[in-house]
């Protein structure tokens, strides 16, 4: 091998250094601490009433006071979110395959999908309650509705973005449609599928809460509505923090999965 080629290749990947770790974790943590401190200071300095804006301490108190109850409600919301999301992925990806695979189907289904997506989902929430009652089902369906569209769009886009030279390459070996799909098109679309899944997971939590607002007897959204009615603002805040945590954990869980499964994708450093 000559010096020309050796000089340009990248060395083996090394783990992040201590400094990188500090900036990765330290800086967001610093930001969080600063915001909480400001919030606390504001409630003390302006002596804001607890039922208007509770201080961080009030929120922590509220959480500790009802920890068991809150964890149970968190579990309910988390389950609805994950179930709806998985359902959307399991149904959305094959539908995207159909759309990407056939012009006819694309023309038939695509405008319909756009129209359905244009309807504000919150408008459907009361109807879902009428149809399915107060159980978990209408929540799962709402999460599904919010997640489905970004997954389908992203996946279909990914499947249609196979570079011409790769398509021609497999054709030059006389590959069948199935071979071309599984050896090239689908793997090539995977990073784009992940983009759709990551967009969807953020929407998933929103979907669960919307559905719980409208009609529920459990879940964090239900807790927020209840504490609003009884002016128990610290409890509502505690629930919101838990919702935030669910969202962050799910998103980074997906990112970690992506790094594990698609180490070759450009998006990852």
């Amino acid at each position: 091998m000559t010096s020309e080629t050796l000089g340009r290749r990248r060395g083996p990947r090394q783990g992040p250094s201590l400094k990188d770790r500090l900036t990765d974790w330290g800086l967001p943590l610093l930001g969080l601490v600063a915001v909480i401190a400001l919030w606390w200071a504001a409630t003390v300095v302006f002596s804001i009433e607890k039922f208007l804006v509770p201080s961080p301490v009030d929120v922590v108190d509220a959480f500790i006071g009802q920890a068991g109850y809150l964890m149970a409600q968190t579990w309910v919301t988390l389950l609805e979110t994950v179930e709806g999301f998985l359902l959307a992925a399991v149904i959305g990806v094959p539908i995207a395959m159909l759309i990407a695979g056939s012009r006819l189907l694309e023309k038939m289904i695509y405008p319909l999908l756009l129209a359905v997506n244009a309807v504000p989902k919150i408008a459907i929430a009361p109807i879902l309650v009428v149809w399915m009652g107060f159980g978990q089902m209408p929540k799962i369906v709402m999460v599904f509705l919010l997640c489905f569209f970004p997954i389908v769009i992203s996946t279909a886009t990914g499947l249609k973005s196979t570079p011409a030279e790769l398509a021609e390459l497999v054709r030059s070996y006389g590959a069948s449609r199935m071979q071309a799909f599984f050896k090239v098109r689908f793997p090539y679309a995977l990073p784009q599928v992940m983009v759709g899944l990551k967009t969807a997971i953020s929407l998933a939590v929103i979907g669960a809460v919307i559905a719980e607002f409208v009609g529920a007897d459990a879940g964090l959204g239900f807790v927020i509505v209840q504490s609003g009615a009884s002016a128990d603002t610290p409890l509502a805040f505690a629930s919101m923090v838990l919702l935030g945590i669910i969202s962050i954990v799910l998103f980074y869980g997906l990112s970690a999965l992506e790094n594990l499964v698609l180490p070759w994708a450009e998006e990852n450093r």
């Binding site: 091998m1 000559t2 020309e4 080629t5 340009r8 290749r9 990248r10 570079p163 030279e165 790769l166 021609e168 390459l169 497999v170 054709r171 030059s172 070996y173 006389g174 590959a175 071979q179 050896k183 090239v184 793997p187 090539y188 995977l190 698609l262 180490p263 070759w264 994708a265 450009e266």
Partner: protein, 256 residues
């Protein structure tokens, strides 16, 4: 090995018909190295794609190993201008792709893959991903992939033109060496007169719009040829000059 008889290709576009190739007759012998040169738009790539079975000629017949070409053949390989490697596959797995598609014996060909990777000087890089390689190295992997099923015919569409000048030269010399070790008929499209003279037994000169066969120049310089100082420098200059005159119009408005 390859025979083109009265081959024409007409593309119908928005501005009417475009005659890409017009009545091409050409015979390429087994184990011969032919380069196609010509200016942009003379149908070089079109001709290659038709031999590969990726494109049907509008009229005329093309045969490879005596059989008419109707679809891509297992014993014909096509190498593109870009490396076209699958980014999620390692070097070795990229080289093995045709073996999987053509459903050939994996164990046998894995051994051959290792040999080829060594032949192009990439031993030790089998487990690397394409993005960890330079452009020149990627194109070497692409070359291994196009040789893996031991093709009778290798069609190369400006395979080194996306590389920098030095890497390009180095790969041309290497291709010549590999060609001397492997029995393969090669048709090689290029813009570069230097490349054409270095590699070819015969240089086929095409003229543009419509693409016609203008002249076939025999390159009778003994191998291995090099681009630096060598004993045949005079002959190289002579052939290059001839090709140059054919390809670049004379200042006084000569028709080319």
């Amino acid at each position: 090995m390859i025979e083109l008889r009265h081959v024409s290709q007409v593309f119908s576009g928005r501005q009417g018909e475009v005659h890409a190739l017009d009545d091409i007759n050409l015979e390429v012998d087994g184990n011969e190295f032919v380069t196609l040169v010509g200016r942009s738009g003379c149908g070089k790539s079109t001709m290659l794609r038709m031999i590969a079975g990726l494109l049907k000629p509008t009229s005329g017949t093309i045969t490879v190993a005596g059989e008419p070409v109707t679809k891509p053949r297992q014993d014909v390989s096509f190498m593109f201008q870009r490396a076209a490697l699958l980014p999620w596959r390692t070097v070795l797995d990229n080289v093995m792709l045709p073996v999987e598609i053509l459903r050939l014996d994996k164990a046998v060909h894995r051994e051959r893959a290792h040999e080829l990777i060594e032949l192009v000087g990439l031993a030790g890089f089998e487990k690397r991903l394409p993005r960890e390689l330079s452009g020149g190295m990627q194109q070497r992997v692409s070359l291994c992939r196009s040789l893996i099923q031991n093709p009778k015919v290798l069609l190369m569409d400006e395979p080194f033109s996306a590389l920098d000048a030095l890497t390009r030269e180095e790969l041309s010399v290497e291709l010549q060496r590999i060609k001397m070790e492997q029995e393969t008929t090669i048709v090689f499209v290029t813009h570069s007169i230097e490349e054409a003279v270095l590699l070819a037994d015969r240089v086929v000169v095409l003229s543009p719009r419509p693409g016609r066969l203008r002249k076939i120049v025999e390159v009778d310089i003994p191998r291995p040829r090099t681009l630096g100082h060598n004993a045949h420098a005079d002959r190289v200059t002579e052939v290059s000059a001839e090709l140059h005159e054919l390809l670049v119009p004379a200042p006084a408005g000569g028709a080319a």
